[in-house]
Amino acid sequence: MALLSKFDDMRAALQALAAGGRNPFDVRFEKILSATEAVLEGRPCLLFGTNNYLGLTFDESCTAASVSSVLAAGTGTTGSRIANGTYGDHVLLEKRIAEFYGKRAAMIFTTGYQANLGLISTLAGRDDHLLIDADSHASIYDACKLSAAEVIRFRHNDAEDLARRLRRLKNHPGNRIIVTEGIFSMLGDSARLREIASVKREMGATLIVDEAHSLGTRGKNGRGVCEDSGVESEVDFVVGTFSKSLGAIGGFAVSDLPDFDLLRIACRPYMFTASLPPAVVGSVTAALSRISTDASLGERVRLNSSKLYRALAQEGFAVGPEPNPIVALKMPDKESAVRFWNRILEQGVYANLALPPATPGSLSLIRCSISAAHSEAQINRALSVMAAVGRELGILNPGPKKTLAQAAERVPA
């Protein structure tokens, strides 16, 4: 049997997708012009699918810090923290992140994926139970596979279901560790953290919140949905990424847990990979300083998101349940989603095509990410292109506007 024959179904699905125009998994930008513009197929293109929420990838203070770090400390660390040494700037960045969150300690990881993989798989050992939101990101599911704990999914954003599942564990030994996200990456909905934190408190569990999409975009000080919901003191670990609002790559975890540093010699995805290079550490430290001192970045991304969300809903699109920097448009089926995605790209608007099984409820979505750096003219342009294509393909709701939550109602059990 051919080695890759197990992927025959995927190959066929990819060929069908690419037959609709382009391969959505292989979009190649010829040039990146700014945080919101690129050149694609020889034409300028507006970027509405890059998670560049605060538009800091070309921020002068960030690029200058990156250049100065690379000149001072070289292009790479050529090894891991535990085997090959820590640089002073790694320690400084960890200190700054801990201060930003008002937590005792921080650990940085080489990617956000590894932050989840490392933290979750190391905290949850044999006899422990991981309770994860059903709509969790792939990095959380993969962390569960790496862990020796039993893994139980609870219904998306359903604190009652979580409580029911915790109650069923009452005669089992071990710790209970709840994992959820601030903003969910596909539909752009926020976690109901107040309810979840209250269940955590009543049932005596540990709570981890991944704020990948909410760092810098939510909360008065940019500390995400935990800050917005007033539950920061109830959250035992916040995980996040440097690759979205902070415009680089890397991940982190913060906590008040005493002995948190013990994880540095127990957490394999931290121990056995090369540490972040100086250029990245430099720009991330500068970006963190930008969001700590400039509240207008968060305000702008929220304003822009709300504007696009409301305008798309007004046009008759089935949009996600609430305005956030991720705005999802529900397409009637996979074929319409592929056509829509290709048509807006031809007209210079890049968004993401999100299809089952990567989506909850087997939905076919066009996923837009909004930036503080988008101008009003860019938002209006994206809106008019999407509305025109929506009309052309006959996929706008003529009647009362529906939110995606209503449109996505599942078959009752």
Partner: protein, 83 residues
């Protein structure tokens, strides 16, 4: 009807709601692949099963199960363990 038979009947009824009406579902039906359900749809079906039988099926246990019959046996085992 034995305990296992009634569990199996319940599972088949829940799965039948998620597949096309003309699809025949039996104890030997393979949950993944045969029915055209993607991995997320399978996990959603498992949630239906968990609600019906008031138990949680750990993900690693779900991964071991291939047929409706095997799922029914896993449910029976978990229910016994919970007593």
């Amino acid at each position: 009807m034995s305990d296992n038979n009634s569990i199996e009947a319940g599972v088949i009824e829940l799965l039948a709601r998620r597949v096309r009406a003309d699809t025949k579902v039996t104890a030997d039906t393979r949950i993944v692949g045969e029915l055209g359900l993607d991995s997320v749809a399978v996990l959603d079906f498992i949630q239906d099963v968990e609600d019906r039988f008031d138990l949680s099926i750990p993900l690693e246990r779900v991964a071991e199960v291939q047929t409706i019959g095997e799922l029914s046996v896993a449910i029976q085992t978990l229910k016994r363990a919970a007593r």
